[in-house]
Amino acid sequence: MHSSLSNIRLAGLAVSTGSVVRDFMADGLARGIDRGQLERIAKTVGLRERRIAAPGVTALDLCEDATRRLLAEMALDATSIDAVIFVTQTPDYSQPNNASLLHGRLGLSKSAAAFDLALGCSGWVYGLQQAALLCAHGGAARVLLCAGDTLSRLTHPGDRSTDPLFGDAGSATLVERTGHAAPFHFVLGADGQGSSAIMVPQGGARQAPGAAPLAEITDSEGNVRHAANLAMNGAEVFNFTLREVPSAVGAVMRLAGYTAETADALVLHQANRFMLSTLAKKCGFTAEKTPMAVVERFGNQSSASIPCALIDGLVDRLEREPLKIVACGFGVGLSWGAFAGVIGPLTVAPLRSFPA
């Protein structure tokens, strides 16, 4: 699906990360994994350290912290928000949704809408499209988009294909209606036939929590997990990404009239360095224009990784000048969302961990 939405701007951005630092090498050595093997993976995939949520801290807490800091930085009252969209796959409860819980915590107006989007790594772009739609055509003047997950809680420590990858974070993005801004362009898509490539089998209505015993299974590579853990077929996800992301990025750049030379940055979901460098090349972007540092310092942060990369890689420029940004998120679903538009100047709350 292609869409172009006018008279909107991205006004502010904040990200709060988990506060517990996990070191890839130290964790691997403690589990008895060969040092040479770890160094090879660290170098190729770009795993160094990640930040996970402290016990008891959820995506809701991380996003609330990011939102409160952003509102303070912008000197805005929470009652000025017309809608809150919460993108997460790790909500506090199956009911009510996180958006309603955050609505209550922040004391939003009863006329403010609140709803969740159940998406992962593509979710920030999907959420941004929904926020822009509400501002452009839905009667909202200011929409709060929160995107975050605590995927580190879903992995099994014995699963080397997922456990070392994920960091936890929550983001807050403020989108506003304005009179004279260049359009935001979006390309959204999905391939539901590939949905089993990233999956947590137990925990929903199909296989309710406790419906089946959590028997551990060991795959052909020695990875251990059970039905309530996140399972990922890395090769299938890699193929999907190489197949869909470059074409989505190309399509959204054509909508915006950008080229890899005229765009200021390509901000991709921070999956891992290997995937990022491969995608940057296929999309025709230089490494200098493609922020890649987030995944090595914070881990794969699911839907919070694009806002985190915007802040971590571009904050100095975004605070003072308009930048032509191309972004693409991709992952669970399988789904993808690409964005192209001018972002900045905007307010950015400093990146920090929560609790501080």
Partner: protein, 74 residues
Amino acid sequence: MTRMQHLPALQADVDVLAGADEATRLDGLPSWDSLAVLLVISHFEHVHKVEISGAQVRACRTVGDLLALIPLRS
């Protein structure tokens, strides 16, 4: 160009194949793992412009089997 002539390029991209020949068994390589599978997929995509699946790579027993996945036009 024969498939065997593609081996040096494959070895350059997939580090764990260094020193291997056509008959080398993949399950005998100490670091033949999911990362190596990704590197093979990436190599085929970049060099040979074909998409191969993880299942295709995992079904290979030897380096020669991997090379047999290269399209003849290459």
